[in-house]
């Protein structure tokens, strides 16, 4: 089932763990060296920048190849040509895997471009035969099959995420095809399917049959938790129901009942997840719960704005700084199940800090020579307010 050499994958897992152990000071450098020699990896796994470069060049080359095929055929039967391009991409992918490529940028792009071509070809074939809702249903089923196979055979993490997204789209399309509009059972169905998916993933992780899919299963589990949370999240429910006109008349909107439940879910679920993550010392759950808690403030401000946005930004910003500061202090006392240890080599945010600062604050900066740039415009070079004043 797995396209890659499983012995190589096993050795890779060993190497990955061993390097981590040495970083944490659990084993010595000599022990690491002897394990790495015992479990050699011959896969071609380039560093990030080479992977990026190879990915860009693969897009250029494979698109050019597809273009040649289309021109040679005068694009007479585009759907068939897309299918041929898709099969060609997957065939090329298999060849590169035989040449030991693993997450090299080439295999990543060939897989997703191949799926995209197959998708386009399939949808073009069906475009004239079915209505929009049925088309969405076929689209989601095709996506589930293609991304499911991609995740299983090629261990692709992006494909695993698209697989979960395709399931959600499938549920929506199913309701649109039968009832014509989303309703509460859709939310219940989504919550049930996501719960089942989460439990299935949790049960499968650590088992022998899923040893090479454990990363993917964890990713699907996390995506499932997000989808489960969103099932009854007030923002989504309000958007889905209150904006759906029953009779086609915009004034005649379906009233949203049981709002207390949706609000309670929106608030309690992340808190419960936060408690669970600290209890089970699960860093991924902790990250998710913090993101969900941050979203509560945003949703609250969106529906019940008790203060102006700028006040909300200032207060929530100060609150974030204060909370982070006290958590750091607490973790440094070394009493927690978690730690706060800044690596001496400046990993994490330090390395990308200048990029993050530039990305966040440069967008509003206008040059002094630019026509019409006035300070009343509120755009001040390099550190602008971020406002439209």
């Amino acid at each position: 089932m797995i396209a890659y050499n499983t012995t190589e994958l096993h050795h890779l897992q060993v190497q990955f763990n061993v390097i981590g152990w040495e970083d944490e000071g659990l084993i010595t450098a000599e022990e690491k060296r002897s394990i790495l020699d015992k479990y050699p990896v011959k896969l071609f796994m380039p560093q990030f920048f080479l992977r990026l470069g190879l990915g860009i060049l693969t897009v250029i080359a494979s698109s050019a190849a597809a273009g040649i095929l289309f021109i040679a055929n005068d694009a007479r039967v585009p759907e068939a040509l897309f299918i041929i391009c898709g099969i060609g991409s997957i065939a090329a992918l298999e060849i590169f895997i035989k040449k030991k490529h693993y997450r090299s940028g080439v295999d990543d792009i060939l897989l997703h471009q191949g799926i995209l071509y197959l998708f386009t070809g399939t949808m073009m074939m069906l475009a004239d035969d079915v209505n929009d809702n049925a088309e969405l249903l076929v689209f989601s089923i095709t996506a589930i099959i293609l991304y499911g196979i991609a995740a299983l055979r090629y261990l692709d993490r992006l494909a695993a995420l698209f697989f979960v997204a395709a399931i959600v789209v499938f549920e929506y399309a199913l309701f649109m095809n039968t009832l014509g509009r989303p309703s509460v059972p859709l939310l219940l169905m989504n919550a049930s399917i996501m719960t089942a998916l989460i439990f299935l993933c949790r049960k499968s992780v650590g088992k022998h049959f899923s040893r090479f899919h454990s990363d993917l299963l964890r990713l699907i589990e996390l995506a499932g938790i997000i989808c489960l949370y969103m099932s009854f999240h007030y923002l989504l429910v309000a958007g889905l129901f209150e904006l759906q006109p029953i009779t086609g008349n915009r004034a005649d909107l379906a009233p949203l009942s049981q709002t207390w439940f949706y609000w309670a879910w929106t608030i309690i679920f992340p808190l419960g997840l936060l408690w669970y993550s600290t209890w089970k010392v699960n860093r991924d759950y902790l990250r998710l719960s913090v993101l969900m808690i941050l979203s509560i403030f945003y949703v609250k401000h969106l529906f019940y704005p008790s203060m102006a946005p700028e006040w909300a930004a200032l207060l929530y910003g100060l609150l974030l700084i204060a909370v982070s500061y006290f958590v750091i202090r607490y973790l440094r006392k070394d009493k927690s199940k978690f730690t706060y240890e800044v690596k001496a080599d400046g990993t994490g945010m330090n390395q990308v800090e200048q990029l993050a600062v530039t990305a966040a604050f440069s967008g509003t900066g206008l040059s002094s020579s630019e026509k019409g740039t006035q300070f009343h415009g509120g755009n001040f070079g390099g550190g602008g307010a971020g406002s439209d004043y």
Partner: protein, 335 residues
């Protein structure tokens, strides 16, 4: 990895009993490090609060009065930097050690507030009159001073962004290449000169020993300014495209040399991709387009060129990466 596997390693004699016990204990009761998550939250907090302040000062001008807002901002900036100067590390030519995690974020917040204050003073009181350049130049100088004094790469990035703004370049994240107005003579030439200047500053940083770790920040900005400007110049000054192509070739040559001197694949990659883009443009527009009257033939030639060169460049990059790996450079000197 299962606990059984640790035992296998132990039985194979690959790890000692002490290491085996440590690995087992870490597996049974892991203590994840939350430093990255907390830094992201701190950064988000600084971003939100300074944005909030920036909007508030303009919104409450009528209510609070210009002077009181300016005074509050000045007070905040003074408090932050007074604390910074008192509690922060003394200036050193090399890399300084941060006294605390929060310190760097406080300096970043202070620098952003300083920019807001300068902008506000010019808006409301016109302290720089009509000399808009001066209104960008003064905060830029202050930011450079703060970046060097407090050894802060984030503030240095703000200072470089201000330097670009001062000479008339707008950095804009809405474009994929990050620069606005690249169809303007002035912006292209200014971007090119700024790129060369920043690369020269980066070289000076390293050779003089004055904050040598800042060289990567200067070089990154400089390289992208230079490459994007030369590419834009090639398109904009189409009659003089050869001159810009030569300039691009010189920049590519310089970066390839640097990549091999420092064992940095990053510089090799950006030089290759920008160079490939520039050469591809010239060949497509000036050579292939004139090769035939038939659009299909021209398209064929272009597609075959990109298919062949895309594959060739990929193979070349793989080979060069192998060569670069052989070059032993201290980890800190690599990007």
């Amino acid at each position: 990895m299962t606990p059984g596997f640790f035992e296998t390693l132990y039985r194979q004699g690959l790890i000692s009993e002490d290491s085996f016990n440590k690995v087992k204990a870490a597996h049974e009761s892991p203590r994840p490090d939350l430093s990255t998550e907390l830094k992201v939250l701190l950064y988000l907090g600084v971003l939100l609060s300074t944005t909030g302040v920036a909007v508030l000062v303009y919104r409450y001008i009528d209510l609070l009065g210009s002077l009181s807002i300016a005074l509050v901002l000045a007070l905040l900036v003074t408090v932050i930097f007074s604390y910074g100067f008192l509690k922060g590390p003394k200036f050193v030519r090399g890399e300084a050690k941060e006294p605390s995690t929060l310190f760097g974020y406080m300096i970043l917040a202070g620098s952003l507030l300083l920019l807001i204050l300068t902008g506000y003073l010019q808006t409301e009181f016109g302290v720089f009159g009509n000399r808009w350049g001066l209104a960008t130049f003064v905060p830029m100088c202050l930011l450079f001073f703060l970046a060097y004094y407090f050894d802060h790469k984030g503030v240095l990035s703000l200072a470089i962004t201000n330097l670009a703004a001062w000479i008339g370049i707008t950095m804009n994240r809405t474009n994929w290449y990050g620069l606005a107005d690249m169809n303007n003579d002035h912006t292209i030439i200014a971007g090119c000169i700024l790129g060369v200047f920043l690369i020269a500053v980066s070289w000076y940083c390293r050779s003089s020993g004055l904050k040598p770790h800042f060289d990567a920040v200067y070089h990154q900005f400089g390289s992208h300014f230079l490459f994007i400007s030369t590419l834009a110049g090639m398109v904009h000054f189409i009659e003089a495209y050869l001159l810009w192509l030569l300039l691009l070739a010189a920049a590519v040559y310089f970066h390839v040399r640097k990549a091999f001197a420092e064992g940095s694949f990053y510089y090799l990659l950006i030089a290759s991709l920008y160079g490939y883009l520039g050469l591809g443009f010239v060949l497509s527009v000036k050579v292939f387009a004139k090769a035939s009257d038939s659009i299909n033939t021209v398209l064929y030639i272009n597609l075959c060129y990109y298919l062949a060169t895309g594959i060739m460049l990929a193979i070349l990059l793989i080979q060069k990466n192998k060569e670069l790996v052989q070059i032993k450079i201290p980890a800190n000197d690599r990007l």
